[in-house]
């Protein structure tokens, strides 16, 4: 017989071994040599924290009491793993994409990063897992008590043993679980220690099993006979329990916080999941292979009344196998400790991220703008949470008295955490799930669980009075904790599971259908449900409001100065900037938020960034995408419409341009004909008269003078025409040099009127509306005068009124001046208006004396002077308006 002290020595040595392994794994990981720590094998073994002391001790006890029913607890997870393609693949992808740190984080992120939801899930998880932790403490102390002989002075009291085990667990979890802050950086030390413990417990159970089958029973055949002849030798099964417990274990496998931790958070590579899909069922199968044989042999050889939960220890002891019993003890110890470590790690992350940090941030007043290193606060919060959770487990253990069968406690816990399942699966498969639906479902399911499963577990008259058990709350018979709605005779576990889960689901769906999600919720919902279609974040920050310095300060406090600096540097480098401060682009803010959420959870990270940035910008496009599934098509068709409108506009412009070009070409042809005619007419007369002068000798002096005058007149006409063409070409090529002078606009007009033949000398009456004061200007006065003369002579030529009149008027318009030449002739026909300022354009030209260059020259001159000339039809004639820019008018003042 091994003494308790020897056992304690072995246990301490084992714990020291685990510490060493965890320590070296962390070191290797830091030095970048930790790739072997992340093999699919280690991943599969770390999943084995599903098998706790409940499995190790409780399964045998369970089998001794209820036969094969124990196996349902492993069938559910096996099915989930084998069906990884359905749920786990999506869960792991989402968890990694969203950098979820826990179940609470995942659920809160799905439902619009609601911290309220995260708090509710956290509280439920703590309450739901506490019995489970108590179970581990209970199993370790029970197993210790086997080795202590009654009455021996050094035998530990069970309470003291539980206390010291709890202290050891706190120490280990704090040391290796809270070393690095970012939950997504993973806990290499813890994971490798768990993998080692997984091997130890498997080897221990297999060793006991092999010993029992071949050492005690004498082979498989005799073993099977003994099984059939034992008290559990016949198939005797509560059918509802068989199905319900399989479903329940599958649900718990997905929803347990510690399973989420190892399965999703610590997942390094999605391909590991596929390997685990067969490797983990294999592990479970091996773990349960020898459970029934051990139970049967235990029932056979041990005295009636011995605790079947401890057969794994007592059978080897009874056969005198002290070493095997010690190995078995270490296996049970491993199961208990690994579960407590991971469970508390997962829970402490939830508590610190969703309860402590938000409260702490809000008490700081300025929120994210606090001074100091937030990391210390987070790590402190996590350590305190670890302490608190293990303390809760210890208190539950003391309160429950350690009497109940292990399996019963485990099932209570399973039903509790299974309440997360509707919100979780609904969130990743159904876009219609809303925050209020999830909240209502969780609360209803949890309330039913507390009433039907948790409180009755303390026994009648402990929390609930026996009267409540018998008659229901307040005597209402359909409110009995184990017979809700008056339906009696259901197994209590099945009863609690069926009612809590179905009411949870019903309320979740009903409230989701009735409520309307926020835009952020809908975007997140689309992200989660369609994770395989697009893994990008759809919503962004309104980045203009955040400054890089503020973000840097905040990031340093959470990620640590070195990590934050390298993150910012990398981003700045990516943006092509020197230094360490990148532009706060949307993409960068999203990256930063995800990095932060790895440390403090998505809701808190979201809140911190929004404090700096001032709120998420759910852009118009995002809202469109939310508002309508076919938004993209709509947007596309809108774009097409805009494009086609633009095209038709362009086509219209082209058509106009083409018409203008055609008209111009016609004009030009007409002009060429005209100009040939123009040139030919004077040339003809010049040639004729010069021939007469040359060949006719009988001309008298008067005739000679007359003919020479005609020739002279025609050459003047030709010269004028050529001058005009030259002038225009000079103006158009921009070769003209302006001769700036100061003058008075009234004077310029008066001179122009004089040059054009005077106000009254011709048939045109010219009214020059003299303004009261001088209008000084600074420009090329000669050129301006040329424009005015041109306009006046045009009026002289083309005004067809009975008594032609021209009014010249100066108007102040804005900063500039307008000189309006308003005649009383017939308005220019509208189809010709577009062309009057073009070269060679001639309208109403009855006598053919003009070359059609005058207005074109005017416009060129005005453009050079910085002004413009426009035409307006008036009711009683035509108005040509010369616009002079402000600077021409003001420059002289």
């Amino acid at each position: 017989m091994i003494s308790v002290n020897q056992l304690l020595g072995v246990s301490l040595a084992y714990v020291a071994f685990l510490f060493a392994i965890a320590f070296f794994a962390e070191r290797a990981s830091i030095r970048g040599k930790g790739s072997w720590l992340r093999s699919p094998m280690v991943y599969t073994l770390s999943l084995s924290i599903y098998c706790t002391a409940w499995t190790f001790y409780g399964a045998v006890g369970y089998a001794a009491r209820s036969g094969m029913e124990f196996v349902t607890i492993y069938l559910g997870p096996s099915l989930v793993m084998i069906g990884w393609w359905w749920v786990l693949r999506k869960l792991v992808r989402i968890g990694r994409a969203q950098r979820a740190t826990s179940v609470a984080d995942l659920i809160s992120a799905r439902y619009g990063k609601s911290n309220l939801l995260a708090i509710v899930v956290t509280v439920m998880a703590v309450i739901g897992v506490t019995p489970y932790i108590a179970l581990q403490l209970q199993s370790v102390t029970l197993s210790l008590s086997i080795f202590s002989e009654p009455g021996q002075p050094d035998s530990l009291s069970q309470a003291a043993a539980a206390f010291w085990v709890a202290v050891g667990l706190v120490l280990f979890t704090v040391l290796f679980g809270t070393r690095n802050l970012n939950a997504n950086e993973r806990h290499d030390g813890v994971v490798i220690a768990i993998a080692v413990e997984a091997v130890v417990k498997l080897v221990a159970l297999l060793a006991v099993g092999v010993f029992v089958v071949w050492g005690v029973a004498g082979g498989i055949g005799p073993m099977m006979e003994r099984i059939d002849n034992s008290t559990i030798g016949e198939w005797s099964m509560d059918r509802s329990r068989w199905a319900a417990l399989t479903v329940l274990s599958a649900a718990a496998f997905l929803a347990l916080p510690r399973m989420f931790q190892v399965m999703v958070v610590e997942n390094e590579d999605e391909r590991h999941l596929q390997i685990a899909s067969w490797a983990f069922p294999l592990y479970l199968m091996l773990m349960s292979l020898f459970v029934v044989p051990i139970a049967v042999i235990g029932l056979d050889i041990l005295p009636a009344g011995s605790n079947p939960d401890l057969f794994v220890l007592t059978v080897p002891l009874a056969e005198g196998q002290g070493g095997l019993a010690t190995l078995s003890f270490l296996g049970g110890f491993s199961s208990a400790t690994s579960m407590v470590i991971v469970a508390t790690l997962a829970l402490s992350t939830m508590v610190s991220n969703h309860v402590v940090m938000p409260v702490w941030l809000s008490t700081q007043g300025t929120g994210a703008q606090v001074s100091g290193d937030v990391r210390n606060v987070v790590i402190l919060a996590r350590r305190a949470s670890i302490l608190m959770i293990i303390f809760f487990g210890y208190v539950y253990y003391r309160l429950s008295g350690g009497g109940a069968a292990l399996a019963a406690i485990g099932l209570i816990s399973f039903v509790g955490v299974a309440q997360f399942l509707p919100a979780m699966l609904g969130g990743i498969f159904w876009r219609g799930a809303t925050r209020w639906g999830a909240l209502a479902g969780l609360i209803v399911g949890f309330a039913v669980w507390v009433f039907c499963s948790l409180l009755p577990s303390f026994g009648p008259d402990a929390v609930l009075s026996a009267a409540v058990f018998e008659q229901g709350i307040g005597g209402v018979s359909w409110l009995r904790p184990q017979a809700l709605f008056g339906i009696e005779g259901i197994d209590p576990t099945v009863h609690a599971m069926v009612w809590s889960l179905s009411l949870n689901l019903a309320v979740f769906v009903a409230v989701s259908l009735a409520t309307f999600p926020t835009p952020l919720e809908r975007l997140q919902g689309a992200q989660f449900v369609n994770i395989f279609d697009h893994s990008t974040q759809a919503r962004g920050w309104d980045a203009a409001l955040a400054t890089s310095e503020d973000l840097m300060i905040m990031a340093q406090r959470i990620l640590g100065p070195a990590d934050a600096l390298s993150l910012f540097r990398a981003e700045a480098k990516r943006q092509g900037l020197t230094g360490h401060l990148p532009e706060p682009t949307q993409g960068f803010l999203q990256t930063l938020e995800r990095e932060l959420s790895g440390s403090v959870g998505s809701a808190t990270a979201h809140a911190m960034i929004s404090q700096l940035v001032g709120g998420t910008s759910v852009s118009v496009e995002d809202l469109m995408a939310v508002a309508d599934e076919s938004a993209q098509i709509l947007e596309y068709s809108n774009r097409l419409e805009a494009k086609s409108a633009e095209l038709s506009r362009t086509a219209r412009q082209l058509r106009e341009a083409n018409q203008k070009l055609t008209a111009l070409s016609v004009q030009k042809d007409a002009f060429l004909g005209q100009i040939s005619h123009e040139l030919r007419t004077p040339m003809t007369s010049i040639r004729s008269f010069s021939e007469i002068l040359r060949d006719t000798d009988t001309l008298d002096q008067a005739e000679k003078t007359k003919y020479a005058s005609i020739i002279h007149g025609e050459t003047i006409r030709l010269t004028r025409l050529l001058d005009d063409l030259l002038d225009l070409s000079v103006l158009e090529n921009g070769q003209v040099s302006l001769n700036l002078e100061n003058g008075n606009l009234n004077d310029v007009i008066a001179q122009a009127v004089l040059s054009a033949g005077g106000a009254h000398t011709t048939r045109l009456r010219i009214h020059h509306m003299q303004s009261d004061q001088d209008v000084p200007l600074s420009t090329d006065l000669d050129r301006l005068r040329q424009v005015f003369i041109n306009l006046i002579t045009n009026a002289q030529k083309y005004c067809v009124a009975a008594t032609p009149e021209l009014t010249v008027e100066i108007l102040q318009q804005g900063g500039g001046l307008q000189v309006v030449f308003h005649d009383n002739g017939v308005p220019i026909p509208s189809e010709a208006r577009a062309l009057i300022f073009e070269k060679f354009s001639r309208i109403n030209d009855k006598d053919g004396s003009g070359a059609g260059l005058g207005l074109a020259i005017c416009r060129e001159i005005m453009t050079r002077l910085g002004g413009d000339i426009t035409y307006e039809p008036r009711a009683d004639g035509n108005a040509f308006i010369v616009h002079l820019p402000g600077r021409v008018a003001l420059a002289a003042q």
């Binding site: 096996s78 793993m81 059939d228 059918r239 999605e270």
Partner: protein, 93 residues
């Protein structure tokens, strides 16, 4: 899910077709597991009445449950071997 992209082609070449069917098998495997493991619900249990049929012996029950288990593990491992060998699972052709 991701297989039913709107632009997916209707007919596939032989290898892609084989991979699709393997994924179908992958999806089907847990369903088969559930059906097989729920068979014990149909077994006669606990002869409380003389007319009841003889209950299934525990050794047979153990053999049945564990044989199903081993077969499922082998099937899952085989599917992993065939699918996993040809690249990661989510890169649909």
């Amino acid at each position: 899910m991701s297989d039913s992209a709107p632009n997916a082609t209707l007919f596939l070449e032989k290898r892609s077709y084989r991979r699709r069917r393997l994924k179908d098998a992958l999806r089907l495997l847990p369903v088969v597991g559930v059906l097989l493991w729920m068979v014990p619900v149909l077994w006669p249990s606990g002869a409380s009445h003389p007319a009841d049929p003889t209950p299934v012996a525990m050794s047979s029950a153990i053999t049945y449950v564990f044989v199903v288990w081993v077969l499922l593990i082998l099937a899952a491992a085989a599917l992993w071997w065939v699918i996993g060998e040809r690249g990661s699972a989510e890169t649909d052709p």
